[in-house]
């Protein structure tokens, strides 16, 4: 087990000013480098908020969040965006591929906001696609791909920047059981090669693949270290 990559200490997030709704109360969480953690919980339990915070898309109201030793709350908007671009990979339930751009262009999009050079961008995207077994689909439009293939494109996109953390939000929510198995296979493979993965899910079989599970209920983390 490597160093601590994610450290949440008493993280609180409220919404609304007059009568605030507490979405996350005093969450403590530690995720080590190379670990695969699953966060499970029913909808409305604060999973999105936690994803927001871990994914550096939002700042906590209280408590501290250190990502790889960096105090995220102290960063500017642009720095947090830079962190997302360079250190974090996202995989979503709805894939979020741009329908009018080819598969390769969709993967190349991951480099746009990180100021990586244009030279070699397509080659890097093609390599990531090839690693997902999609080398022959590079010039297809996403609409021609199956759900499983689309999610593999999304994973390729999330890996182009060689992130320290892969954040998966219900990665198999739109997939059938067979395709779910394929995607989980890929995630397992990535984990074996040392990638830190945090999966947010309500599906027990997906959670079962992770090394460690924490539950979130009504904004409170249970079973967390």
């Amino acid at each position: 087990m490597g160093a601590e990559l994610i450290v949440l200490d008493g993280v609180t997030r409220r919404y609304g000013a007059a009568s605030p709704v507490v979405a996350l109360r005093g969450a403590n969480l530690r995720v080590c480098s190379g670990e695969w953690l699953a966060i499970v919980g029913p909808s409305g339990s604060g999973k999105s908020t936690l994803l927001n915070i871990i994914g550096c898309l939002d700042r906590p109201d209280g408590g501290t969040y250190h990502f790889d030793g960096i105090d995220v709350a102290a960063l500017s908007d642009r720095q947090r965006a830079g962190l997302r671009s360079r250190r974090l990979g996202f995989v979503f339930q709805a894939f979020h591929l741009l329908a009018h751009r080819t598969v390769a262009e969709n993967v190349m999009l991951a480099e746009v906001y990180g100021l990586r050079p244009r030279a070699g961008r397509r080659e890097r995207a093609l390599a990531a696609l090839a690693a997902m077994g999609l080398g022959d689909r590079a010039d297809y439009l996403p609409t021609r791909l199956s759900g499983g293939e689309r999610q593999r494109v999304a994973i390729a996109r999330s890996l182009v920047n060689e992130p320290a953390l892969l954040l998966c939000d219900e990665p198999t929510g739109n997939l059938d059981s067979q395709t779910t198995a394929t995607i989980l296979e890929i995630l397992g493979d990535l984990h074996d090669r040392g990638l830190t993965i945090v999966t947010i899910t309500h599906e027990p079989e997906v959670a079962a693949r992770a090394q460690r599970r924490v539950r979130i209920v009504d904004g409170e983390l249970r079973g967390a270290a």
Partner: protein
């Protein structure tokens, strides 16, 4: 050359803790905006239609008004500005009025008249003009030619040039001598090129000696194909009671005033009996053109531009709502709110520029097409088509402000959860 757009605000926290901020090269920003534009080319074209029509109407209006006023300036040349033609007013009832035979003398006294000459059209019935007394069956020798009588001053008034021989004078007219001057086309038809051997022609049964051949005239081009006799001949032989019209060559700028004075000079008791054809006032025509065309079409263009701007704003807003997922994704990939706002702003500005280019092209085609049809010279101020894309871009930028702000304000995770 790729430059890094600095999207940093002055109050942003310093970067001394070693976390490099997100950024986007200008080239990438442009690529993303253009890709958004061409994702749905059909919709983009429909969106910019209002701007195309608006800017097209503006370019066409400005071009056509310049073309039209140039046409008027071109028509208002020295020749037509120095001519008035006086005829009897046919609309006038009562006893028949006549142009007096001494009209050249009466008008010659007016200030600004260079020359005034009578022109009388003669009805010779079916009489044909022939140069040869022999009826040659092999070729045509008899022609139907116009026969007119001219006072000596007419040749000056129409600025006639003499090719050979001499012109009619008062003496020939007073004696009603049987002499003619031929227009150049009439002379060619009759086969007469020289007058030194005194060729003769016949008009019906009457014989005339050709004493001169014209080389050309600058007005009244019907004289080129005419046989011109003296006024004395017209009176005695053809019983012409009065001249048909008086052609007046004026000094530059004198025509409008002479048009008012001439009827009084010809008949002080009844000046309304004459009809004066004088050049129109150029300023008035130009004002009319401006009044009719410009106001209407500039208004049309302005309204179209407004509608076009609303169209761009509307579609960009719809597009923001449709692309909520894309916006969330871009945020997750490292885009800041500013990056999102700038992309949508650039997209709507690019739509405006596209509308400007298409509109300017369409407007120019209209100007050229109308000019071709009217045989005018198309004229457009060079800045007009060049400014159209700029104006379009500004309109697009303004139209995109609100949608871009809406896009930037979206919360990324909600956007990502919202679906595609």
């Amino acid at each position: 050359m790729i430059s890094v757009i600095s999207l940093r605000r002055s109050d942003t926290a310093p970067t001394d803790d070693g976390v490099p901020p997100a950024g986007m090269t200008a080239r990438d920003l442009l690529d993303e905006a253009v890709a958004g534009l061409f994702a749905r080319p059909g919709r983009t074209l429909l969106t910019v239609l209002g701007t195309v029509i608006g800017l097209g109407a503006l370019v066409a209006t400005l071009g056509l008004s310049l073309t039209a006023s140039n046409r008027i300036v071109g028509r208002f040349d020295e020749l037509s500005a120095t001519q008035i033609t006086i005829t009897v007013n046919p609309a006038e009832s009562g006893p028949a009025r006549e142009v007096p035979w001494d009209a050249p003398e009466r008008l010659g006294r007016l200030n600004g008249v260079v020359a005034a000459g009578n022109l009388s059209e003669i009805d010779v019935g079916d009489a044909l003009v022939s140069a040869s007394p022999i009826n040659d069956p092999q070729r045509r020798t008899e022609f139907k030619l116009g026969v007119v009588a001219a006072s000596p001053e007419l040749f000056t008034a129409v600025r006639a040039r003499l090719r050979t021989g001499r012109l009619l004078d008062d003496g020939l007219s007073a004696r009603a001598e049987p002499v003619v001057v031929l227009g150049p086309n009439a002379a060619t038809q009759l086969g007469i090129g020289r007058v030194d051997h005194l060729p003769t022609i016949s008009i019906g049964e009457e014989r005339f000696t050709v004493i001169g051949i014209l080389d050309g005239v600058e007005r009244r081009f019907d004289l080129l194909s005419a046989v011109i006799v003296t006024e004395g001949t017209a009176r005695s032989l053809y019983q012409v009671r009065s001249p048909t019209s008086v052609i007046v060559d004026t000094e530059l700028g004198a025509a409008p005033l002479l048009a008012q004075q001439s009827p009084l000079a010809l008949d002080p008791t009844d000046p309304a009996g004459f009809q004066i054809a004088s050049p129109e006032q150029p300023q008035r025509v130009r004002e009319a053109v401006r009044g009719d065309l410009d106001v209407l079409f500039l208004m049309l263009g302005g309204v179209s531009l407004l509608v076009g701007a609303i169209g761009i704003a509307n579609v960009t807003l719809v597009s923001v709502m449709e692309r909520v997922g894309e916006i969330g994704l871009r945020r997750a990939l490292g885009a800041t709110r500013r990056h999102i706002a700038m992309q949508f702003l650039l997209e709507s500005a690019a739509m405006g520029v596209l509308g400007g280019i298409l509109g300017a092209s369409g407007g120019l085609l209209v100007v050229v097409g109308v000019s071709l049809h009217q045989t005018w010279t198309p004229m457009v101020h060079p800045a007009v088509p060049l400014l159209a894309p700029l104006v379009g871009g500004i309109i697009g930028l303004l139209a995109g402000l609100y949608p871009a702000l809406r896009a930037a304000r979206l919360e990324p995770v909600e956007a990502l959860r919202a679906g595609t």
